[in-house]
């Protein structure tokens, strides 16, 4: 066999293997999409129907209205946006202090912030839950957002980025009489948009996918986030039995926002991943 034929065969094999992988990765989702369009009768038919069914409108409508996923989507969106914005703001201020000021115990302060990486929420969840209940934040957005506001990752990333910006820029800003905050928002932030964008997409998806904490602090559906709805739609249906068409429709709805962000902002994602590895 000549070199060329061998190479062609190898390329063909690579394509075939890649296509198998792509299908294997996508197949649960494809099946969920098919089921989300089927009526209970179609889902319970044997052998199962591998074609789109007749009940897409009903399933998505029931998920949206009967299971209040519409309301929960709004809640999730609100919370993810608030937390992402809060994290960015607070981390930017912290990084500004760490890079452009001199104050006592600076390394120690930075260390204390970084140390929070070792304490994931589940480790402190029992007293944290009690604490937010004691101060009257039970079932509120305060409890759902504020505990997430500080970000060691964010402070670290912005600090690294600020340190890579030439010192002459800060000097020039000071000569021009800019105060620290004006320097931050008019000069540093525009120079950091890439880092902020990368941080933004990662944090948005992270917040969107939160499950345990909302499950604990929010009772009832009106303020609940959409992830927790997965618990309910896979337990009961409108007639008592689980309605898998509705359940799959609900799962797909909950998946759409992070997926859209992923496909639209893939570059930011990749940059965010690269940054997260540096820690």
């Amino acid at each position: 066999m000549g070199y060329k034929t061998k190479k062609k065969l190898l390329t063909g094999l690579t394509h075939i293997l890649l296509i198998i992988c792509v299908i294997a990765v996508a197949s649960p989702m494809i099946w969920a999409i098919i089921a989300s369009t089927q009526s209970p009768g179609e889902i319970y038919s044997y052998p199962p129907k591998f074609s789109l069914g007749s009940s897409a409108k009903r399933n998505f409508g029931m998920a949206w209205n009967y299971f209040d996923i519409g309301i929960m989507m709004r809640n999730s969106l609100l919370i993810a946006v608030i937390v992402t914005a809060g994290k960015i703001l607070i981390s930017l201020l912290g990084a500004l202090a760490l890079v452009y000021f001199r104050f006592p115990l600076q390394p120690f302060v930075f260390f204390i912030i970084l140390l929070t990486l070792m304490i994931p929420i589940p480790v402190i969840i029992v007293p944290l839950f009690r604490f937010v209940s004691d101060i009257g934040w039970g079932n509120s957005y305060w409890a759902l957002t504020l505990p997430f506001f500080a970000s060691a990752t964010g402070t670290y990333l912005f600090r690294q980025h600020f340190m890579s910006i030439p010192g002459t820029i800060a000097e020039a800003a000071r000569v021009d009489g800019a105060g620290p905050l004006r320097f931050l928002f008019q000069i540093l932030v525009p120079m950091s948009l890439n880092t902020i964008g990368a941080f933004c997409v990662i944090q948005f998806v992270y917040m969107w996918n939160q499950y345990l904490w909302p499950l604990l602090v929010i009772s009832g559906r009106r303020r609940q986030v959409v992830q927790v709805a997965m618990r309910q739609i896979t337990t009961v249906g409108p007639d008592g039995l689980i309605d898998w068409g509705i359940a799959m429709a609900g799962s797909l709805i909950a998946l759409i926002p992070p997926l859209i962000i992923f496909f639209l902002l893939q570059e930011q994602f990749m940059r965010g991943f690269a940054l997260s590895q540096e820690k």
Partner: protein, 295 residues
């Protein structure tokens, strides 16, 4: 003029929001966790009595907790093993210079955006013993209809499979990035020296990827221990008969269903120790055996 702004109070003011948040919502609860772990709750949490290290003794002597520990470590081990191996092989494939390479990459990593809860919901349907597509395929090919929900071993396997699938995208991203950073001339040199494809991967490329490997190992362990809560809660609620009751799920049940807050707090400390050990091992080992491009 220097690059620093003057003022001693100003930077503290800038750091104040960070410190208020981490103080109130991380360090104070951390202190409280340690404190609580020394108390026992009575009457469904209405009374607390000081018991010293009794909760910790229970942690090490309770057969149920020990089982949960073993279960959690096997779960984490299986998830790490399979998700890292499969994603590494997929990343090698996706790294080949073929047409549509960009499409293949995107099509392999998008499940990253999925949450554990949504993955749980979809897999619960696929594994459903009566209407799930998996059992249809198994029955029509090899004639079996396993009961993934009520059989302990099968339920555990089901949760492992869902957890592995959900993590593939994340791992592929990092493996791909690392593979693309492998210096071509080193691989070329190995090729010229007569190393075949397998040897090139085993002897040259994998050692070069070890920093990423260690990083992913840590992230996958943390994922398996903590982030799979939503997956377990949606799919099995820790059942059947504790078969999927991992450490985090056990903690949740003791704290919020059985009101055994003291015992739950001791479990939290146990989880904290696990995270700390994993991170320290990563820092130490990750720095020693790895290859740095700058050296």
């Amino acid at each position: 003029m220097g690059t620093k702004f003057p003022g001693k109070l100003y930077p503290l003011l800038l750091l104040l929001p960070t410190f208020v948040v981490i103080g109130l919502f991380i360090y104070y609860p951390m202190y409280q966790t340690i404190n609580m772990s020394l108390y026992k709750s009575l009457f469904m949490g209405l009374r607390q009595i000081y018991v010293g290290i009794e909760n910790y003794i229970e942690l090490f002597t309770s057969p149920a907790y020990r089982q949960s520990l073993v279960r959690s470590f096997s779960f984490a081990g299986l998830v790490v093993l399979f998700s890292m191996t499969i994603s590494f092989l997929m990343a090698i494939l996706a790294n080949q210079k073929v047409r549509f390479a960009r499409f293949y990459r995107t099509a392999l990593i998008w499940p990253y955006a999925l949450s554990p809860a949504v993955a749980g919901s979809i897999f619960l349907f696929i594994f459903n013993p009566s209407v799930g597509v998996l059992n249809y395929l198994l029955e029509s090919t090899i004639g079996i209809r396993p009961d993934w929900i009520s059989n302990s071993t099968l339920a555990f396997a089901m949760v492992v499979i869902a957890a592995v699938w959900k993590q593939l995208g994340y791992n592929i991203v990092f493996f791909l990035a690392a593979l693309q950073n492998v210096p071509g001339d080193i691989v070329e040199a190995a090729h010229i020296d007569g190393a075949n494809a397998f040897q090139r991967y085993w002897k040259v490329i994998i050692p070069l990827l070890s920093p990423t490997g260690f990083f992913l190992l840590t992230m996958n362990l943390i994922y398996a221990f903590f982030d799979t809560f939503g997956l377990v809660d949606v799919m099995t609620r820790g059942g059947p008969v504790d078969a999927t009751n991992t450490l985090i799920y056990n903690l949740y049940r003791d704290a919020f269903q059985y009101s055994r807050t003291g015992f739950a707090a001791a479990q939290s400390i146990m989880l904290f120790v696990i995270v700390t050990v994993v991170m320290i091992v990563q820092l130490k080992l990750g720095n020693r055996t790895v290859y740095y491009q700058n050296e």
